[in-house]
Symmetry: C2
Subunit: 283 residues, 2 copies
């Protein structure tokens, strides 16, 4: 008898992207998915790695403080090991990957398709002389000072639902229409410029290309109207530099209340995967 | 004619201590003093390294966000290169060492002897599963949760002027009497436990031994009265563990107003260096 339905777990995790070739498992590469799925298999005493579905498939070098994944496990594995799992994970995982919580997911939960939005942060020190050496691994050092008012003016023109093809690495058969709900810049108490970028989802390279379009505006070499002009062309502009990954971190993923998880997943699948379902590589 | 008096510069700097064998220059070792004095010599086009005096002689692996040093230079070197110095330093220094400012010091300024106080911070994540992997290089991961009320109760009993020999590596001919003005613990918005330690000065290992005496109180294995009992013995207690350096950072050095700098330096020299002046190794 092997008919017991599997149990879906929600896994919340953080990682330093520097030592990983991104999220997605690849043969011969150290990836977050690879390390985590193998370690979960060990701590649940399963015969092999645990298959994972993730909210944000971060690129090589991109960090996460609020990544979310789900995994389907035999219910008895959870019942047997639940109490020990977090402690075992803390010991077994490398220091650049931490699992903050593992809990049974509410009915209808899908880490990828139930998500309402993803929020990323991009950190820039625009005075490299004054930059904190201890934060150099998650902060871009920009040689020129940035005018945040100009960047915010330019960013506001990009908000809303648009075809972001100009800021995406195109994938055949996948839409590049996204709803950008927040894109704003402020200085934190240490003087570091922090960009907040929130959308329903992101296509590949999108956050780093958006930041790359706003940097010359902040430096004064492009007018605030320029990024919106690039957007309107709906074609990749080689003048838009994709900024380095180490300043970027997936901070938070938003989900609807438990009762709406399945409906949201159904809607997302219909809108975003019109033909055959295909994995996407956002951010 | 070489009679022009040298100009004293105040240098404010930050560093990631991981790659340095502490502040003090040592032959064959990479130290903050060694790298900085050599680089200052280069950017001022001087024939050799610039001699430095520092506020806090941090140990190997200890970080600094608010270190202060002074250097005496030929006045014409400053006049010639002042405008370019900060930009040149930013380019010439390695990424783990940043100079935030270089300015002519006010009359009577001595980075070491004019200082009224030094403030250190010690960062501890007491839930290693939830710790931020990006801050693992400046945060101690403690396996057990900490009771901050108990730690603050114990810390309050250590405040004031005492002989801190119990928490210092003893040096012949140097006093271990210090005025501890603040020692308090709180949780920051990320849930990280941050200790603030402020004193007129610190003897060698003192901050890390104080934190090491408070950790078992926070874990519940020692009563809040224990660190004060250790203090009263005025002798090193092997039960006090000196915590690792990577959680520690020199955050700020306080100086009196310009008019009182020379008097303060005179007073410090008299009180702290009764016999021959000797270099100290605080923190």
């Amino acid at each position: 008898m092997d008919e017991e339905p599997p149990l879906r777990l929600r896994v919340d995790l953080s990682y330093d992207g520097a030592g990983f070739s991104g999220w997605a498992a690849q043969p011969g590469r150290r990836t977050v998915e690879g390390v985590l799925s193998e370690t979960l298999g060990h701590v649940f005493r399963l015969p092999g790695p645990v298959r994972l579905t993730v909210a944000g498939r971060t690129d090589s070098g991109v960090h996460a403080r609020g990544q979310v994944a789900h995994a389907d496990l035999p219910a008895d594995a959870w019942a047997t090991h639940a109490d020990a799992v977090l402690r075992r994970l803390s010991r077994a995982l490398p220091p650049d990957l931490r699992v903050r919580s593992v809990v049974p997911a509410p009915q209808g939960f899908d880490a990828r398709f139930s998500a309402l939005w993803r929020r990323y942060a991009y950190r820039i020190a625009d005075n490299p002389a004054a930059a904190d050496p201890l934060r150099r691994f998650d902060t871009l050092w920009n040689q020129r000072p940035l005018d945040l008012d100009a960047m915010n003016e330019a960013a506001a023109l990009l908000l809303g639902e648009h075809d972001f093809a100009a800021f995406c690495r195109k994938r055949e058969g996948a839409t590049t229409v996204r709803a950008l709900r927040r894109l704003s810049w402020e200085r934190d108490t240490d003087g570091v410029v922090v960009g907040c970028v929130l959308a329903d989802a992101f296509c590949h390279n999108m956050v780093r290309a958006l930041v790359g379009a706003l940097l010359p505006v902040g430096e004064g070499s492009r007018p605030p109207s320029w990024p919106a002009q690039v957007l309107a062309t709906a074609a990749r502009d080689p003048a838009v530099r994709v900024v380095p990954p180490h300043g970027l971190s997936l901070e938070e993923v938003g989900y609807p209340p438990p009762g709406q998880l399945a409906a949201r997943a159904e809607l997302t699948r219909r809108v975003r995967v019109p033909a055959a379902p295909q994995p996407k590589r956002p951010a």
